[in-house]
């Protein structure tokens, strides 16, 4: 039982990160029907911003908040820039063109980073000591708690923005019907830009959190988590915000259990296998409905 709960804790902490990244995939898909494969690399950039912030600006708890703000701000800008440069000109092109462009952007970001910083793993200077807490026989590290708490705060914030602000309303409107939204006086370009900024900021935050958790950053670190987060988004129902949260947490937990109870060599096979089953049984994803209300 102790082991079960411990594995659940492990799974939820890694799942939170998947969820944060999955949110960006799902929002962008919801609004322009583009699978933004470069999203995992935005997460990597966030981790690098965190790395440099801890190393050259400040450590401590204040340093962590600063790194989070810098990474979110920086990634939001980069996300918007990528949208302007790479995706906007293709808005009316076929979907496959945009998809391939997204892959190109992904490789571009990865190898620009390899070129400037080298492909090797870098050790992140921990901004504060990663204290270990015990509840009975279950252990938590401070970084695990920070990941979960930060994720919850960011998700609440996102829910508020999407549901209770004017921009959120515009996002929902554009995702439902961009042409109708334009006719109603919504600036579609701004809204799409904002969506990219929001999604990228979340990925940036996830990058800082994961850097803090493992103390490792590397230019190709976004590939696998990016793919897993994409699966998480599909798993929960792509285009649906609660679906991404739920999908992320589920993938994290399933993967951890598979590796803990069966074998780490099976974890990916099990995760992808489950995805196939869910898509066969429920093509719209676990929380997906055949309704058009998407963001």
């Amino acid at each position: 039982m102790v082991q079960f709960i411990q594995q659940l804790v492990n799974g939820l902490s890694i799942g939170s990160v998947f969820a944060l990244v999955a949110l960006g995939y799902t929002m962008v898909y919801g609004i322009i029907k583009l699978i933004n494969f470069a999203h995992g690399d935005i997460y990597m950039l966030g981790a690098f911003i965190g790395y440099f912030s801890f190393k050259y600006i400040a450590g401590g708890y204040g340093g962590f908040i600063l790194a989070l703000v810098l990474a979110m701000g920086g990634c939001a800008l980069i996300g918007m820039l990528i949208e302007k440069v790479a995706y906007k000109p293709l808005r009316n092109a076929s979907r496959i063109t945009a998809l391939i462009t997204a892959m190109g952007v992904s490789y571009f970001l990865e190898y620009v980073m390899v070129y400037f910083f080298g492909a090797e793993r870098r050790t992140l200077t921990a901004p504060f000591e990663n204290t270990v807490f015990h509840i009975g026989e279950i252990t938590f590290t401070l970084s695990t708690m920070i990941i979960v708490v930060t994720t919850i705060i960011l998700m609440l914030l996102l829910t508020y923005i999407v549901n209770c602000t004017k921009m959120g309303k515009a996002m929902r409107a554009v995702s439902t019907d961009p042409d109708a939204a334009r006719l109603m006086g919504i600036n579609v370009d701004h809204t799409i830009s904002f969506t990219f900024a929001l999604g990228s900021a979340l990925a940036g935050a996830a990058g800082v959190l994961i850097g803090l958790h493992y103390n490792i950053v590397e230019p190709l670190m976004g590939m696998i988590p990016g793919l897993k987060a994409f699966i998480a988004a599909v798993f929960g129902g792509i285009g649906i915000i609660p679906g991404a949260m739920f999908g992320g947490l589920s993938i994290g937990v399933i993967q951890t259990f598979a590796s803990g109870y069966i074998s780490s060599l099976w974890q990916d096979a099990i995760v992808y296998g489950l995805l196939i089953i869910i898509l066969v049984v429920k093509p719209a994803g676990l929380l997906g409905k055949n309704k058009k209300e998407k963001v």
Partner: protein, 385 residues
């Protein structure tokens, strides 16, 4: 020619005479040695460390007048830690740069790839750290003609580590190994066998994938077992975070690792506070009173302004060994005469990583050192035979 005749006196007569009819490379003033290392990519730490050691040694050798009156010239290439790149780079060194031998690469997989190229081009390759068991063997088990190494093999390393664990009264062991490398598999197997033969029990075996950063689920499932030692055959990239996560999770048992742990980054990634009761086998330790080692450390620090680790030392020995081999090859230094000198099982070489003679299987006859870490510092070194 006159100049070369004088040099003969210094060389080994018999070999020189035998090699006399070779002829190529005779006119140049330098002897070219290829250096084929992982200077970028996944195991760049190993490669760069070797290259630093090699460069230092070659500088010293050339300062003293080179070998047989000729200076040694390095042709350095980066194989990017990728096996396909190893093929390209080694071929280029051998066919375009006209080297008499190639030093490197660092990992066993890459070395095997380089040896394949070596056999095709009939130019020897010597690795200082390819510890896999069959690196110097052909597919049919025969000894490869142009591949050598100056480090011990994994089965020998795995056995020595098992003996070491038993000598520390460990009875129950768990193994967490990298599923993606032959290196880890070979080590795990030989450890298992020796440990079980010596009254120990393997309680559980788990594996992770190369490139993993999260080991918590594996460690959690091991935590419920009772064991005295955790053996982690793998490289520092994964071992660093693995040890960190194990200690944070409250696994205090002895952790034992192979020479793949031996990197500054292992210490950095695991964190000093988590590195207690951690042991690993190494090719080189600064702990102890060896004058040769002390001199090397001093010279290395003067040159690079940092402490050398085991791969710097292996690189340094490799370059001196290459010089020794070239000297024994005699006046006419060609890949063939060099290969002949390499295969000499009687020539004894003594360096900072120990003394050895080359065995018939192209691997050296060497002792293993196991070092202990306390708060991230090496505190003691034990020799295991």
């Amino acid at each position: 020619m006159r100049k070369h005749m004088k040099m003969m006196a210094a060389g080994c007569m018999a070999l020189t005479v035998l090699a006399g009819c070779g002829g190529s490379g005779d006119d140049s003033k330098t002897i070219k040695i290829g250096v084929d290392y992982e200077q970028t990519g996944g195991v760049a730490d190993y490669g760069k460390a070797h290259v630093n050691g090699i460069k230092l040694a070659i500088k010293e050798i050339n300062k003293k007048g080179g070998v047989n009156g000729k200076k040694l010239e390095l042709v350095v290439a980066d194989n990017k830690s990728e096996i396909t790149e190893v093929g390209t780079v080694t071929t280029k060194l051998m066919t375009e740069d006209e080297v008499v031998m190639v030093l490197g690469p660092a990992t066993s997989g890459n070395t095997s790839a380089a040896i394949n190229v070596a056999n095709k081009n009939k130019i020897p390759v010597i690795s200082a750290s390819a510890t896999a068991n069959n690196v110097t063997e052909n597919k049919d088990g025969s000894v490869t003609k142009y591949g050598y190494k100056i480090c011990y093999s994994d089965n020998y390393q795995g056995e020595a580590l098992a003996k070491f664990a038993l000598s520390k009264d460990a009875k129950r062991a768990v193994i967490v190994s990298d599923s993606g490398s032959d290196y880890a598999k070979g080590l795990a197997e030989s450890f298992k066998k020796e440990f079980a033969d010596g009254s120990g029990t393997i309680v559980a075996s788990k594996s992770y994938q190369t490139g993993d950063t999260d080991f918590k689920s594996i460690l959690t499932s091991l935590k419920s077992e009772s064991f005295d030692v955790m053996f982690v055959p793998g490289y520092y990239q994964e071992a660093g975070p693995l040890v960190k996560q194990a200690r944070e999770m409250g696994i205090d048992a002895m952790i034992l690792g192979p020479d793949g742990f031996d990197s500054e980054n292992f210490i950095k990634q695991a964190g000093n506070a988590n590195l207690n009761n951690v042991f690993f086998s190494t090719h080189f330790s600064k702990v102890g009173e060896n004058q040769k080692v002390k001199d090397f450390v001093k010279k290395y620090q003067a040159a690079y302004d940092k402490e050398p680790g085991c791969f710097e030392a292996l690189g340094y020995d490799l370059a001196y060994y290459a010089a020794d081999v070239i000297k024994r090859a005699g006046k006419d230094v060609t890949p063939e005469t060099v290969n002949k000198a390499l295969g000499d099982t009687k020539a004894k070489f003594s360096g900072v990583t120990g003394s050895f003679t080359m065995k018939k299987d192209h691997t050296p006859d060497k002792v293993i050192t196991v070092v202990e870490l306390k708060n991230g510092e090496q505190v003691s070194a034990a020799e295991v035979k």
